[in-house]
Symmetry: C2
Subunit: 312 residues, 2 copies
């Protein structure tokens, strides 16, 4: 049975430069990528903020999909969050050229009443104080997963530690996992994160894939001979713009979990495989463009192909 | 039906320092790791050279296994190849502190008559001129796989290109694949290597696993919707000494292929999985020590666990 899915996070206007071209004021932001991708799987409830300058045609991107924008605040006279970034060479890392938080700086998410019964919640990257305030407004969700970043690990560690006690899963990149735990080995780092509260940790390694680390003592994992699952990235040859890959990963993962309504170990692995595949589409073109010409059938075909690659 | 397996390459005395300890005059070298690992799967024919200083108890390491040392030359008055290396921090890269080729510098492998009918040949890292000279001495092998390194790509490119036309498969690390082809994307790099002759390329990425790239036009791959297989590394938490991981990977891969006597796509993938697992044992202790207390049953158990990790 599909379950309701909510995302809270940034909506941005991105200006990008990669070795393959440039894009100006492209629709972006963590909650945008997440919701567009997850909407291939289930209807999505979006909570975010934009300024009065937010282009009308970008609202139609949400409205044309199964994305409920009842929680999308438009601040009169406000300006939308802007990020300018560039990638060089192998595009392993974004260089931030310019950032203006604008209306995102004062964002205090208010969850619409009819969103408060949401079963699955994704807290996209944002201040852990804000992420905690979102959880205060949700009634007993089944599954809460959060993303975070270096900035919050450094500046709001206490609020982040409080958040980790309230979530089921956390999504981190490898540098963040190491920073949070002081542990270089990613499996050891994942286990240290588990000791802080979550039931599972997904460590993203970009072009090198991802690792799922689980509580060995969780009874639903009792049948396992292992509590770690490494998945390679889908072997991509067309990489034009890595922006949004991580949030597209999370959108595929959470969208799939919401579509099944089950959160056991085997579902988590399959969800990570879906996330791997949706991220592989994201990077094939600038911003969200690849998703404009994508279907769930195409996602499923690539999932099957990816599955076959790992079958021996 | 198991097929005969031959390896030609270095035998060394290694002096190592890692964050987990030190070892002096440890038995090492590419052909050593390869043959010890492959001998878990099939009998192995070893061709290499050592000096008169080579400790008798190290000869017993070979003799106590299914390793035929008829091709092991002992140079009277000669000194064995020595390598001193160290690893720091995450141990991603070995730093060579000292190297003395000694008898390896003048090594002109002579393949014993009863080795010349060998079905599977692994040319461990060595000068491509030498590797070519080995192939001149083998009668119609079924499968030849070679390893190489940066040095030969830079200094003996012509001989290496000639070799690539004579082998079925090549094993490279990611830096070598990029250096050989000038292509950053590893799948594109793999395809450029295929254009130079081999039927398959294995690109090793250390802690990030490996990628198999195949000829899309090979009829035995016609059923595939893809011609790339990425495999993650086994998620290791005990890493004490990475020395020999790459040759242990090759030993598991070739040992498994020799044990089945089949070289199709599905066998190659499973062979890579075995290589992944045998490499994961190599790094758990210094030198060859982990293999002294390892059984094929333990290898198979870890292969099954690894298989389950990738099943969704």
């Amino acid at each position: 049975m599909p379950k309701s899915l909510l995302v809270v996070g940034s909506i941005a206007l991105d200006t990008l430069r990669t070795p393959f071209g440039e894009a100006k004021d492209e629709l972006g932001g963590a909650a945008t990528f997440f919701s567009v991708v997850a909407s291939f799987f289930v209807p999505v409830r979006l909570v975010g903020v934009v300024g009065e300058d937010f282009p009308k045609e970008f609202l139609r991107v949400f409205d044309s999909r199964r994305i409920d924008t009842a929680g999308l605040e438009v601040v009169p006279g406000g300006k939308t969050f802007r990020w300018h970034g560039s990638y060089q060479g192998a595009m392993n890392e974004a260089k931030t050229e310019y950032v203006a938080l604008n209306v995102l700086g004062d964002f205090r998410p208010s969850i619409p009443k009819n969103f408060r019964d949401t079963r699955l919640v994704f807290l996209a990257n944002g201040s852990p104080v804000t992420q905690n305030s979102v959880l205060d407004q949700i009634e007993k969700p089944d599954l809460v997963v959060a993303d975070t970043m270096n900035l919050w690990i450094e500046t709001q560690r206490e609020a982040l530690l409080a958040l980790l006690k309230r979530v089921d899963g956390i999504v981190l990149n490898e540098g963040e996992a190491r920073m949070l735990t002081g542990e270089h080995n990613l499996i050891m780092a994942g286990r240290k994160v588990l000791a802080l509260g979550p039931k599972f940790v997904v460590i993203k390694k970009g072009e090198h894939g991802s690792i799922l680390v689980l509580h060995p003592t969780d009874p639903s994992n009792a049948a396992l001979t292992h509590n770690v699952c490494p998945l390679p990235a889908y072997p991509a040859t067309e990489v034009r713009d890595p922006t949004g890959a991580g949030d597209s990963f999370a959108g595929g993962m959470m969208g799939y979990l919401a579509s099944t309504g089950q959160y056991g170990f085997q579902h988590l692995i399959r969800a990570m495989a879906y996330g791997t595949v949706t991220a592989s589409f994201a990077i094939e073109d600038f911003g969200l463009r690849r998703f404009e010409r994508l279907s769930i059938d195409e996602i499923d075909r690539r999932l099957n192909e990816y599955h076959d690659m790992l079958t021996f």
